[in-house]
Symmetry: C2
Subunit: 292 residues, 2 copies
């Protein structure tokens, strides 16, 4: 185990910078795992990889109000700081940054970052302003921590694509590490929101991953992507009580509807259950010359 008995919880921006800056000046590298807490094995996989790859591991826990819309689950988002701290320490985190909303947003700022065309699809279409809030908090966190590398899970594939573009287009100083989605035994993607499913919904929800996997199989069997959206949607509708928010195939990471030039394609799904909304996706290499 990498358990870190001396993990330090830090709540102020200034204190975290005072701790990290001298270490960075000594040439020690920093791996960073931004989270909204209520940690599960997906987060711990990010922390574990950061631990193996860097001298210093920083994890943040901040349920960011800026990325929740009106009527979304900001208040209901699950929180358990003590359990999170134990899990983070066990995963080898050195500094667990848990700022208050006032610490992160002391001013009523009117400056906004608009994420552009990649945010027009999928969750960006269903959750207007969501990715504005994601980029706002990440630019702040990246500036506060100044990590060499930041770790993100592929479950939030659209978020990852937008972050990669933001880093590229604005020369942000962190590298971005894409980490595979961690799944339950039945294939369901780990998510902090899974605890908000009923027992029945929890059983049904594994159908989302199976539907995406069958979509991928059909694609390699030669079924066109437009058909595959329907196949995946039907499979989810037939095996869950949830309501489909979207099932969509797009070029990845551009999220263009035109995938004629893309190397990779994502099939992404969002499904609403009684008191939470789940997302999952599968990414696959495009079939090109073989089909000509």
């Amino acid at each position: 185990m990498n358990a870190n008995a001396t993990m330090q919880i830090v709540r102020s921006v200034a204190e975290l910078q005072n701790i990290l800056n001298p270490r960075q000046r000594e040439g020690r590298t920093v791996g960073f795992v931004p989270t909204m807490g209520f940690l599960h094995e997906g987060h711990l996989a990010l922390a574990g990889q950061a631990r193996r790859e860097h001298d210093v591991v920083v994890m943040s826990i901040f349920v960011n109000p800026a990325q929740f819309g009106p009527g979304e689950d900001y208040e209901a988002y699950p929180r358990d700081e003590q359990r999170d701290a134990e899990l983070a320490a066990a995963a080898g985190v050195d500094y667990l940054f848990i700022p208050s909303v006032e610490e992160m947003y002391p001013h009523d700022s009117s400056i906004r970052i608009l994420p552009g065309t990649q945010a027009e699809q999928l969750c960006g279409a269903s959750r207007p302003g969501h990715f504005d809030g994601v980029l706002k908090v990440l630019l702040k966190l990246f500036n506060i921590v100044d990590p060499d590398e930041s770790y993100f899970g592929m479950k939030d594939a659209q978020q990852l694509a937008i972050i990669e573009t933001f880093v590229r287009d604005f020369n942000l100083r962190t590298a971005i590490n894409r980490v595979e989605t961690v799944r339950e035994e039945d294939g369901m993607a780990k998510s902090s929101r899974n605890v908000r499913l009923t027992e029945q919904e929890r059983k049904e929800a594994s159908a989302i991953n199976r539907a995406l996997a069958s979509g991928k199989k059909s694609y390699y069997e030669g079924v066109p992507l437009s058909e595959i959206e329907k196949i995946v949607s039907s499979a989810i509708e037939n095996h869950t009580s949830g309501t489909i928010d979207y099932v969509k195939a797009l070029a990845y990471p551009s999220l263009d509807e035109d995938f004629s030039d893309a190397d990779e394609v994502i099939i992404a799904a969002a499904v609403k259950f009684s008191s939470t909304r789940l997302i999952d996706n599968i990414i696959m290499s495009t079939i090109k010359d073989e089909r000509k």
Copy 2:
């Protein structure tokens, strides 16, 4: 003199970062002077101060297309790289960063930074999108250079106010240093655009600064700010052939129209001449208790 015989011109982002990163790891501080070139004594004052205050001085020269609107003077903006290099070296610059447009914007990015309420007044109202472009290029430059301190002139007071807010609200890692406007003997603010005035306009243009100074004098004599806008406007109209774009008194740096709580007030003016548009301003402490 601080003349730097070994000043190095750098045109690529990667090369500049390769040069600066090891120096920064050694704990040497970096002062940064972002410019659009065609250097005058205003820029050189910024560089001179950076030279006195930091181990390494970086100046950038980049006429940023993103901050010019359609029909503005992007093409006509004056450029003279060789002269700029001589002046920068004489001012003690270590690294003169002159990227091409392709180097700065290799991708057609759709991510935007919207500067908020401070950009709704003054030049932001006259030049829609201007400050989006300013924040875009500055976020890139700050990430590329990672300066300890960046130097900006007070002539562009609205730009400075917006940058200070951006730095504060997004935890940018650079400090911002406000440097006094450098003026010609007749009081006219130094500007790269001054060369585009006719000889007659150049003589008239000193009236802008005189009008602002008389506005300040009237304010301290007890004239209300609403009246002062008129006094300054009339003085400019009576003594120049230019057309007033705006003359406006606002709280500084909030740029609020309500200055009841402000410690400082700006009177800012923009005047259009035959082939260029000039800006200038004066900032003064508000009169408070004395008048109660």
